[in-house]
Amino acid sequence: MLKMRGVEVSYGKICALHGVDLEIRSGEIVTLIGANGAGKSTLLMAISGLARPIQGCIEFLGEEIQALPPNRIVERGISQVPEGRRIFPQLTVRENLELGAFCRHDPQGVRDDLAYVFSLFPILASRSQQLGGTLSGGEQQMLAISRALMARPSLLLLDEPSLGLAPIVIRQIFSIIQKINQEHKTTVFLVEQNANLALKVASRGYVLENGRVTMTDSADNLLRHEGVRQAYLGV
């Protein structure tokens, strides 16, 4: 579904990605794990068109997208839950969700999806008139995921959804991510530092170190791998 070949991204002189190759197949949950500053967010930004690769190509559904502006990429079915959630703080929960559906023109479908995300996260339905900035961290993450779903993506990119949340909230969010993947056949690309949980819900994983993919395997094998266990699972 998504193929990255030799993707290089740099911020001025700092090279954040050095030729990344990666593939995501339709219907999978794939995870990308890596330490702080490894370039995980940069990789997602490159897919979303918010960071321009200076080399390499990104192919989505058989077409190159690395030169498209971000709005065209969203229209093609890739939507991102950015790191730190990035809720619109002065807009209500409902308005946040409506903005998620900005590039759609099927009002009926948008209404259906609104009902769908409210069924996924009932708390959002009860908070729909509350300002986004007044939600708790967990609720904001739920809102961020819902907002991305409102674009009805075929590929959902999640950047560290567990960041700064209580373990019980993290488990709830991860089970919803699995549910979205199963019910809607939404392909999920999950970027995480919380490697343990990420590898448990994913079928395959990539390890990113200093802007390079150093390892890729099935999630089970990565969980058992000695190097990964030491570096990312803290055992």
Partner: protein, 401 residues
């Protein structure tokens, strides 16, 4: 309490000392005498003392005090009360010119023009969150487009009005392109420069704009070929501006609730998230600049028609600053707030003339007071209240474990 009084006394003494040369000593160069006005010193000391004590009391009880002045929205939420108020307002606005002198009508027309300017700038600053310090440039474009089109081609007011708006919108896009990647301070500096460039061009390109001497003899707006007396023309322009104001309020409100309005607000709130939602940042910014500028262009045409004379001195940075102050003081993002802000801002200095020399001082004090006690503006947009930042909320949640 005792400590407060002591503090007040200290500030008063300090002030008395500082202002001694200005307020007390008066040299009369003709009679070569020095007048010592000690009474002034006493008055000043007393006034500073009272102001300090009251001011410190107010700022300590700021939250309680601002609660006395609720955001007008819950009040206006009563549909019947709102309709009643609107009808009264409409009647007052319509009948106003019949009962007041041309002088008063002129002031009110100016205030309404600034209300439209404020509403236009509010699109750029309040909705899209782009700090524009050169807004006066578009006002100048509008005024000069009528003046020049009339001078060279004899174009009338009604033809110039849409052209002025359109030209201003084009200039808005011209400004928008180079500042697409800028935000905050940098954007403010570039827009400030843009405003000055336009003024300097008008001042120095004599062949084009007749330099500092400007263009005179611009015709007032026509009314089906009738020739109006000056007083009638003033009244006519008042109604035109009132009409433009109503149209502006209607259009701006519709814009805010439209798709593009949502995109502006999203852009203001979070540029990255806005792009991640599939909003075209370039288009959104450029439309904000263009649509904001077009109102300034139309008001510019009206301004030229009202004064029948334009020169670059009318389009200095001070104008941009006043319009921006109207938006900020009135309440960013709020239509009612901006209109009230314009009325207060333009009418107050006029009616403070009673205080002669101290009018600007008083005006400044009122402005500072509003900003201290109503940082959200006279009519605060209830959406713009403070709240814990998203990341702070996340940290708290971790802390709870």
């Amino acid at each position: 309490m005792w400590a407060e009084l002591k503090k007040g006394a200290a500030v008063a003494v300090w002030f008395m000392f500082l202002t001694l040369p200005i307020m007390v000593v008066k040299v009369n160069p003709i009679e070569q005498t020095v007048v010592w006005r000690w009474a002034n010193l006493v008055w000043l000391g007393a006034a500073v003392f009272v102001l300090t004590v009251v001011g410190r009391y107010c700022s300590r009880h700021r939250t309680e005090l601002s609660a006395f002045w609720p955001d007008a929205h819950p009040l206006l939420a009563h549909p019947q009360l709102k309709r009643f108020l609107l009808i009264v307002l409409a009647l007052l606005a319509t009948l106003f010119p019949l009962f007041f002198s041309s002088y008063q009508i002129n002031i009110m027309t100016t205030a309404l023009m600034y209300a439209v300017l404020g509403l236009g700038l509010n699109i750029v600053v309040g909705l899209a969150g782009l700090l524009d310090l050169g807004y006066v440039a578009f006002y100048a474009v509008g005024a000069y487009s009528y003046a020049l089109l009339n001078y060279h081609f004899g174009l009338g007011f009604w033809a110039a009005l849409p052209i002025g708006g359109l030209l201003a919108a084009i200039f808005g896009v011209l400004l928008g392109f180079p500042v697409l990647r800028l935000r905050g301070d940098y954007l403010a500096i570039v827009t400030l420069g843009f405003g000055e460039i336009i003024r300097l061009i008008l001042e120095n390109w004599n062949d084009f704009s007749f330099g500092p001497s400007g263009i005179a003899g611009i015709p007032r707006p026509g009314l089906f070929g009738l020739t109006l007396s000056v007083d009638d023309a003033i009244m006519y322009i008042y109604y035109l501006v009132l009409l433009l104001g109503l149209i502006t309020i209607f259009v701006v409100n519709r814009l805010r609730d439209s798709r593009i309005g949502r995109a502006w607000i999203a852009l203001r709130e979070d540029e990255i998230a806005c792009q991640a939602m599939g909003i075209d940042k370039t288009k959104t910014k450029l439309t904000a600049f263009a649509l904001g500028a077009s109102w300034a262009g139309m008001v510019g045409v009206l301004f030229a028609a009202k004064t029948t004379f334009v020169n670059p001195a009318s389009f200095t940075f001070l104008e941009s600053a006043i319009i921006l102050s109207i938006v900020v003081l009135g309440g960013m993002g709020s239509t009612v707030g901006v209109v009230i802000g314009a009325l207060v801002f333009i009418l107050l200095p006029e009616y403070l003339r009673a205080f002669a020399d101290y009018r600007m001082l008083l005006f400044g004090a009122i402005m500072v007071g509003v900003m201290v006690f109503r940082p959200q503006g006279i009519i605060g947009n209830p959406r713009r209240r403070s709240y814990p930042l998203p990341m702070a909320a996340a940290d708290q949640e971790v802390g709870h474990e």
